[in-house]
Symmetry: C2
Subunit: 133 residues, 2 copies
């Protein structure tokens, strides 16, 4: 089972390499914090602030590549935590099937925010990080 999350907060610190992003349950109160790199944090932040770029940024390129190849981005799922590292997949509908592509959660979230698709976290991962609902 997976739980839909929304982007709650991005904390960008110019004096640290790792930035903090917080996801919150859409239908609940659990907060899921994640450390991500400055590039991904900036990419998400630009998007949230509706800043536009004259040329497609990296996560726009992923979105347009999916579209040009006939796929439809459905959502992203943070599906595993192993040795304190999160893993995720992007899920794409293609010819009536769902294709999953492994990614880092930060890329997945940046892509989801760029494309306006939902972000999910597997219930097991959420419990491990935040406890039970």
């Amino acid at each position: 089972m997976s739980v839909q999350m929304q982007l709650r907060r991005i904390i960008i610190s110019e004096i640290q390499d790792e930035q903090v992003i917080m996801l919150k349950e859409v239908e609940g109160e659990r907060i899921f914090p994640m450390m991500i790199g400055i590039f991904e944090a900036s990419s998400i932040d630009r998007r949230v602030k509706h800043m536009v770029s004259p040329r497609p940024l990296t996560h726009d390129l992923i979105a347009s590549t999916i579209e040009k190849l006939g796929g439809e981005l459905r959502d992203i799922l943070i599906n595993e935590i192993r040795d304190q590292t999160y893993f995720a997949v992007i899920r794409i509908a293609l010819d009536g099937e769902i294709v999953e592509v492994d990614c880092r959660p930060s890329d997945g979230i940046a892509l989801a925010v760029a494309s306006g698709v939902p972000i999910y976290v597997a219930e097991g991962v959420l419990e491990e990080v935040c406890g039970n609902d």
Copy 2:
């Protein structure tokens, strides 16, 4: 017409935002310099140095997305310069046709280096920047 280039040099400066990448003609002597962001420069540099990452980095994600959707990345082409800004496309074979996806040259080069496909620059762009062969 387009001219095949190879990555000649990456100059990373920690005190400047913009980094320099130099492409050189495979069958000629013209050098094509480009300013790119630190993220793309680092991504290319990591790749050239064969540094491995436990999780797919952003340009690996583009490569695996193309593959999972049944496409085959062929090459990248820097095809235009407008107001001192370069534009590029990635070219993907899909079902016997070539699909082009707009990108920034830095993303295109990072993807080409990650995937081991050729980099081309349109002859017109090369002439504008470097003069005639």
